[in-house]
């Protein structure tokens, strides 16, 4: 079942398949986002087409991002990182591995069809139709065993490294979180208490699934690329336990000033503020690891993706500790500010990490040299500048909307005043999309057979 050995523990074909899927879904997700942004300019290309209604396309954008792009990208990273970290193969590649791969793609496609067909669930980040939910759950449980069994084997011999902490906890959290978020508010608890549970799910989907798996992979890939250990084991511990304790206690901050009992709102605000301290320790740890190796950022685009993602994570969390205050909430809740925040964390951080992992692993799993490093640079700068500009632009939009509402302007003022900012948002979206096309072309050409085989051995 599990075999030991440093050589040949990684299934290249599984890593490759998940990377390709992640790329395909990223393309769909970006296109959906771009289309949806056109609605705000009054230039939507499919008016009156039911299954391409902007409201439905928006759900394709967000759910495709989490379940299509990020999940595929992370699983590719896990298929690489977990065996190399532990020296054991994952539980089963040939049957379970490929079954899980096709199950995930089928679940994401069924979600896309269901959302566009009008079978969405009114749970944010969990719009996956009710009939898809059980399959996602089974997938998550299988993933738990697939990746924690080798870690468990290794843990019997030696203390576990930071990556493993995040991966074990994240994979245990997500099935519980998924059941809580998708079933309890849908069938059992209505209204305000349901909102508290939904808020907890919204936050946990990001905080207890996407974040821990992402950090687990970063704790593996960044030191590996730099060929040096992480700076401080103590800070790793502090960061992990801070995250693990305070992250599950924040859900209600998505519904501040709502009829949810105030003690839950205060607890959410407090734990969000304290979490910032834990996040700072993690970021210090990575920057101190980088110390003295600044040159590597020039040479290695994958490392640059990962480090800029870590910077964005720091910015997002700092922003979070400001925007979560009840005073700030008066102005920015319900506005584009939050949309900007969500983009910086989901794409600017986790998306960038996956793009970094992909560009690091792709030449290794295909066994070919990168097609063009200038295309790689162009893609990086276009997507990066596009993303950061979109973030600033949406923050500005949020302030405009929030204060127009607060000032009791006619409602349509907030829409009219936002129009130029929404235009900039679409432009930045096009920048990201063009960058993605260059990225895609570059890696497609890399994988093509005519390309020169890589000089270095695959197991480097």
């Amino acid at each position: 079942m599990v075999t030991r050995g440093k050589k040949g523990v990684v299934s290249f074909s599984l890593v490759y398949a998940h990377l390709v899927s992640a790329l395909v879904f990223l393309g769909i997700v970006l296109l959906a986002g771009l289309l949806y942004s056109l609605q705000f300019l009054g230039k939507y290309p499919f008016p009156g087409v039911e299954f391409l209604s902007p409201g439905r396309v928006r759900m394709l954008h967000t759910n495709g991002a989490v379940y299509g792009f990020i999940t595929n990208g992370y699983v590719a990273g896990l298929y690489w990182a977990v065996p190399r970290l532990t020296g054991y193969k994952v539980l089963n590649e040939k049957y379970l591995g490929w079954f899980m791969f096709w199950a995930l793609q089928a679940a994401v496609l069924a979600t896309a069809v269901g959302l566009l067909g009008g079978y969405a669930q009114a749970i944010e980040w969990g719009e996956t139709p009710i009939f898809v939910d059980p399959f996602v759950l089974v997938y998550l449980l299988l993933a738990l065993f697939q990746f924690t069994v080798p870690i468990y084997q290794y843990g019997k011999e030696r203390p576990l490294y930071a990556s493993s902490w995040y991966i074990i906890s994240g994979l245990i959290w997500i099935p519980m979180v998924y059941i809580m978020g998708n079933y309890i508010p849908q069938f059992f608890i209505p209204g305000v208490a349901g909102a508290a549970i939904t808020g907890t799910w919204i936050h946990d989907a990001v905080g207890l699934y996407v974040t821990p798996l992402g950090w687990g992979l970063m704790y593996f890939f960044v030191p590996v690329i730099l060929k040096k250990p992480i700076w401080s084991h103590g800070l790793s511990l502090l960061g992990f336990w801070g995250l693990a304790f305070f992250y599950p206690m924040q859900g209600v901050h998505h519904y501040l000033w709502s009829p949810i009992p105030m003690y839950a709102q205060y607890a959410a605000v407090f734990s969000t503020l304290v979490l910032e301290l834990a996040v700072v320790t993690v970021i210090i740890n990575f920057f101190m690891t980088m110390r003295g190796n600044g040159d590597a950022l020039k040479k290695s685009v994958p490392l640059r993706w990962m480090m800029i993602g870590i910077v964005n994570y720091g910015i997002t969390c700092l922003q979070c500790s400001i925007q979560v205050l009840l005073t700030t909430q008066k102005a920015i809740h319900f506005t584009d500010w939050v949309v900007g925040h969500a983009h910086l964390i989901m794409f600017g951080t986790f998306g960038f990490w996956i793009l970094g992992i992909l560009s690091y692993l792709w030449p290794k799993v295909t066994g070919r040299r990168l097609y063009s490093s200038s295309l790689d640079e162009w893609a990086f700068w276009l997507i990066m500048i596009g993303m950061e500009t979109m973030w600033v632009d949406l923050l500005a939009g949020g302030l405009v909307q929030g204060f127009t509402w607060w000032g009791l302007n006619p409602w349509m003022d907030s829409v009219r005043f936002s129009a130029p900012l929404w235009f900039v948002r679409t432009v930045t979206g096009i920048m990201i999309f063009v960058g993605f096309i260059l990225y895609l072309y570059n890696f497609y050409m890399t994988a093509k057979k005519e390309n020169i085989p890589s000089a270095q051995p695959q197991e480097a």
């Binding site: 079978y119 245990i172 508290a196 939904t198 003690y263 349509m412």
Partner: protein
């Protein structure tokens, strides 16, 4: 300390349940004594706007809902809510009014827990974003005709609106179908329990 069981049991299970208790379980316990209304209880008071729909669109109303009654009103509310969810209206319209930022002046009475304790909020539709205005005090703000025109093409009644048109809420002859009638009924129901006379100019559009 860095053992598998530490991360599986302490962070994986214990911390999760601890946090979830304060954020999800405790609020549910605090609110457990508010009785949850069924759809029959909600539809007990058939709204005048529902009768008006039957007058305005007699052929369509007859075809899709028969006569205006408690049963047909309950059905309209269910279908309306289903459309509200399928079209993800809740991504751009919230359903709660905060006690801050002059929202009470703009929209009306601040939201309170018991108005959400019913099956129409299963799943809850509080929402997290407003591109358009809040809808929890929408009842009676606009006429049925306004809503029908608005769903057909929002910019016709609200210049510069970015809301998409919902052509599939209408028959080939341009009159509302079952979905269209139901979503209008749902709009007129939202907040009908907390309706106040509107004296000031409508600052919402």
């Amino acid at each position: 300390m860095e053992r598998f069981s530490t991360f599986a049991l302490i962070s994986g299970l214990f911390f999760f349940f601890f946090g979830t208790f304060w954020q999800a379980v405790a609020p549910s316990l605090s609110l457990r004594n508010i009785p949850v209304k069924s759809i029959e209880e909600l539809a007990d008071n058939v709204l005048p706007e529902f009768y008006k729909l039957a007058d305005d669109y007699p052929v369509e109303f007859k075809r899709y809902f028969g006569e205006p009654s408690k049963a047909s009103f309950a059905e309209a509310l269910n279908v309306g809510k289903a459309q509200y969810i399928a079209e993800a209206c809740w991504h751009c319209h919230s359903q709660y009014i905060r006690p801050v930022s002059n929202e009470e002046l703009r929209f009306g009475k601040v939201s309170y827990p018991s108005e959400y304790a019913n099956v129409m909020q299963l799943p809850q539709l509080l929402g997290t974003r407003r591109v358009g205005p809040d809808l929890i005090r929408e009842a009676g703000r606009h006429s049925n005709d306004w809503h029908v025109a608005h769903f057909k093409n929002p910019p016709n009644v609200v210049p510069d609106s970015v809301m998409p048109s919902y052509a599939w809420f209408f028959d080939k002859n341009g009159r509302p179908n079952k979905k269209g009638l139901a979503i209008v009924a749902y709009m007129q129901w939202l907040g009908s329990w907390a309706q106040e006379p509107v004296y000031q100019l409508d600052a919402r559009k």
